[in-house]
């Protein structure tokens, strides 16, 4: 610490001495206990502040806590700001015992040293599929496990497609034609996210990967073809210019209100569509360049991690809690309630018994890929480079070639 900071810290202590006495008697949160022995409570942090996810996850946590004999002190933080919270707690060594982290943020936090590799805590990782395991892997060490995963899919409005006499598109050409045919006054054929955050990238990756491209090579033919598809959909009027403003939730809203006949968005939007009722929709894989190609989509969701606390008893209890969260029963229950897919492929048959209409969805997840698998810590910069390129090209600010050349350059600057 610098001299000035030490001095101001002493001043702070002197100045608030009077208030501290009163403050300390009230509930003071933060510090992890350093005494080992019996553990009564575990602190768990996640970013689901809103219902129904808040209760679904809360109930699971409480049940698991009860099963290992601890009470759960839960800290739910808005998802837009949970990273700064983690960093603040990291610097004051007051991270919770179990921490939820978005899969694409994991390498950044894991590389800081604040998390224990799960192997150190003897957490079993056998009831998780390979692709899901890769979500939580950084530098060949597993730092986090996801009980459920989702992905991005295409929703189609069966009624509108039937009315227009259009079949569900499976290739890019079919997609372009279908979108054009379904665009009438007051309705767009398709909606997707081209927002300048991870959601814009999330929508672009399936196109890139299905074309055989890779996120570490943005200046490739596959990338150009994929970006050109998005550009053409908007410039032809089949998709709104507002795609640059929309996130997955907004796209889901567009589909829900019938403003878009097809929508490429996160599978989690299903809960919204099912709740409102009245939309006759199906879920299908995002179209591929030519018939016969495999649809490869990015996996989305969060992993549960175990921050280091230095207290053996707490660390053991936290590991037990994580193992409980990852149990098959919890995987299935969480997946069914939140409309995502269990991590364990062996649970697919049970899952599809309850939700048979999601067979395509499950198939896409099993073929899915982790966004951080190749680039690891360099992913965040590439992520930003991709969404910037998408926005530049879709708004007509630059050509597809220029946009991707710029993206490749700024992605390279980080590596």
């Amino acid at each position: 610490m610098t001299h000035a900071s030490r001095r101001s810290r002493r001043l702070a202590l002197v100045a608030t001495l009077a208030g501290t006495a009163a403050a300390l008697t009230s509930c003071a949160g933060g510090g992890a206990t350093s005494t080992s022995g019996d553990v009564d409570t575990l602190r768990v942090a996640d970013y689901y502040t809103d219902e129904p996810a808040r209760s679904i996850i809360g109930d699971t946590l409480d049940a698991c806590g009860a099963s290992i004999g601890v009470t759960i002190e839960r800290e739910a933080v808005p998802s837009s700001d949970y990273l700064s919270k983690i960093l603040q707690q990291s610097s004051s060594r007051t991270l919770p015992d179990v921490q939820m982290i978005d899969a694409q943020d994991l390498p950044a936090i894991a590389s800081s040293g604040a998390l224990s590799p799960l192997a150190e805590r003897s957490v079993p990782t056998d009831n998780v599929g390979d692709s899901v395991l890769s979500l939580g892997t950084v530098d060949d060490e597993v730092y986090g496990l996801a009980p459920t995963v989702g992905t991005i899919v295409m929703f189609v409005n069966n009624d509108l497609l039937q009315q227009a006499g259009v079949a569900v598109p499976t290739t890019w050409d079919e997609l372009t034609a279908a979108a054009a045919a379904l665009t009438v006054d007051g309705r767009y054929g398709i909606a997707f996210s081209a927002k300048n955050d991870g959601q814009g990238t999330y929508a672009f990756l399936p196109l890139l990967w299905s074309a055989g491209g890779s996120e570490d090579e943005l200046d490739s033919d596959a990338a150009r073809a994929a970006l050109q598809l998005e550009v053409d959909l908007v410039s032809s009027g089949s998709a709104s210019q507002s795609t640059v403003q929309w996130g997955n939730s907004d796209v889901g809203d567009q589909f829900l209100t019938g403003s878009a006949a097809m929508a490429i968005t996160s599978g989690t939007q299903m809960s919204k569509l099912d709740a409102e009722g009245g939309r006759n929709y199906s879920i299908t894989a995002i179209p591929v360049p030519t018939a016969g190609d495999t649809a490869v989509a990015p996996l989305g969701g969060e992993v549960w991690t175990l921050p280091r606390s230095g207290d053996d008893a707490r660390e053991k209890a936290a590991a037990d809690l994580l193992a409980c969260i990852m149990s098959d029963e919890n995987q299935l229950s969480l997946a069914e309630q939140r409309r995502v897919v269990p991590a364990n492929p062996e649970l697919d048959s049970a899952y599809l018994e309850t939700l048979p209409q999601l067979a395509d969805y499950v198939a896409v997840v099993r073929d899915g890929r982790s966004r951080t698998a190749i680039l690891q810590e360099a992913w965040p910069t590439t992520n930003q480079a991709i969404w910037t390129a998408v926005q530049s090209a879709v708004t007509g600010q630059s050509s597809v070639d220029e946009a991707l050349a710029d993206a490749a350059a700024s992605a390279a600057s980080a590596q």
């Binding site: 610098t2 000035a4 300048n196 709104s240 210019q241 403003q245 910069t381 930003q384 926005q391």
Partner: protein, 320 residues
């Protein structure tokens, strides 16, 4: 035209200090001590809450600060490398331009409209008190709510603004307020002006209320037109308030980040990226906190230079 001015602290320049003439040095120093007591708590507060963060931010600009630095406390010293990196980033100078356009556009809009409205409200009429309070509503709303509202209003297809404009026949197709790189900055300025008008109105109104009524009556007796009255009576006496309002507005707008993040997140295609938003992305997207600190330090220096020049200029004009 008769004018009555009372000597106030700002019109009376450099009078010899009373304290120097007081008999006995003992009373002088005790008076001084009491004077410092007036300001000591505020200074203590500022030091406690701002000194450490500022120093830390300045130092961080010279370090390679990553997520690991938060945990381990170690951050290697890299000299001016961060500054070189941000200055040579192709998006840096556009961000600087956007920052200035955004700030100047917002201030001009907020101030002129705010002043006009404040002058209007100076006339007493029924409902004026209630209306003045309701006018503060834009400031009351949480940023997440006001940006959501404006995004909804400015949606190209279904937004109320385009619906009304189309209904009135002013436009044929919806304007892509927030979706077009060429219009987005203007739209963001409009929203910022909307948010900032209450601030200007409230403070300027308070300042207007301090101008003695007799001066206006005297001007009316002399047959001065409203415009003349404004320039001869209102403006000179409002100057100190105007100085403070503009200083604060510029500073708040320079560092403004929430409105832009909520509306466009710096897009589309970086067209609304300003220095504060760029700093945010460097820190919380790329996890390069050293770069983020360097960018925000550049911003702080710009604000500092502005405040310095502005305060000096406003002091000089008061002595003319």
């Amino acid at each position: 035209m008769t004018s009555v001015t009372t000597p106030t602290a700002q019109t009376v320049r450099r009078r010899p200090a009373r304290e120097g003439r007081a008999p006995g040095r003992r009373r002088v120093s005790r008076e001084r001590v009491y004077q410092w007591l007036f300001i000591a708590p505020a200074l203590l507060y500022v030091v406690l809450f701002f000194a450490y963060p500022v120093v830390k931010n300045v130092v961080m600009g010279f370090q390679d600060y990553t997520t690991a630095s938060f945990y381990t406390g170690e951050a290697p010293f890299v000299g001016f490398a961060n500054y070189v990196t941000i200055f040579s980033d192709p998006t840096f100078w556009p961000s600087v331009t956007n920052t200035f356009v955004f700030t100047i556009g917002s201030i001009v809009g907020q101030f002129t409209l705010g002043l006009a409205i404040a002058v209007f409200f100076r006339r007493r009429f029924p409902l004026s008190t209630i209306l003045r309070s309701l006018l503060l509503l834009p400031w009351l709303l949480p940023v997440i709510v006001s940006t959501a509202l404006w995004r909804s209003l400015m949606d190209q297809d279904s937004g109320a603004i385009n619906v009304v404009l189309k209904g009135l026949g002013i436009i044929d197709t919806g304007i892509p307020w927030l979706a077009s790189p060429s219009i987005a900055l203007l739209s963001v300025i409009i929203v910022n002006v909307w948010v900032g008008i209450p601030f200007n109105v409230a403070i300027l109104y308070g300042g207007l209320q301090d101008i003695p009524e007799e001066l206006y009556e005297a001007a009316a007796v002399d047959g001065a037109s409203p415009w003349r009255t404004f320039w001869s009576v209102t403006w000179p006496l409002l100057r100190p308030t105007v100085t403070v309002v503009i200083l604060l507005c510029v500073i708040y707008t320079l560092r403004s980040i929430d409105i832009i993040l909520g509306l466009t997140r710096g897009g589309p295609a970086n067209s609304t990226q300003t220095l504060p938003t760029a700093s945010y992305f460097q820190s919380f997207q790329q996890f390069q906190f050293g770069l983020g600190a360097a960018t925000s330090n550049v911003l702080i220096i710009i604000a500092f230079v502005f405040a310095l020049l502005y305060l000096r200029a406003s002091r000089r004009s008061l002595t003319d």
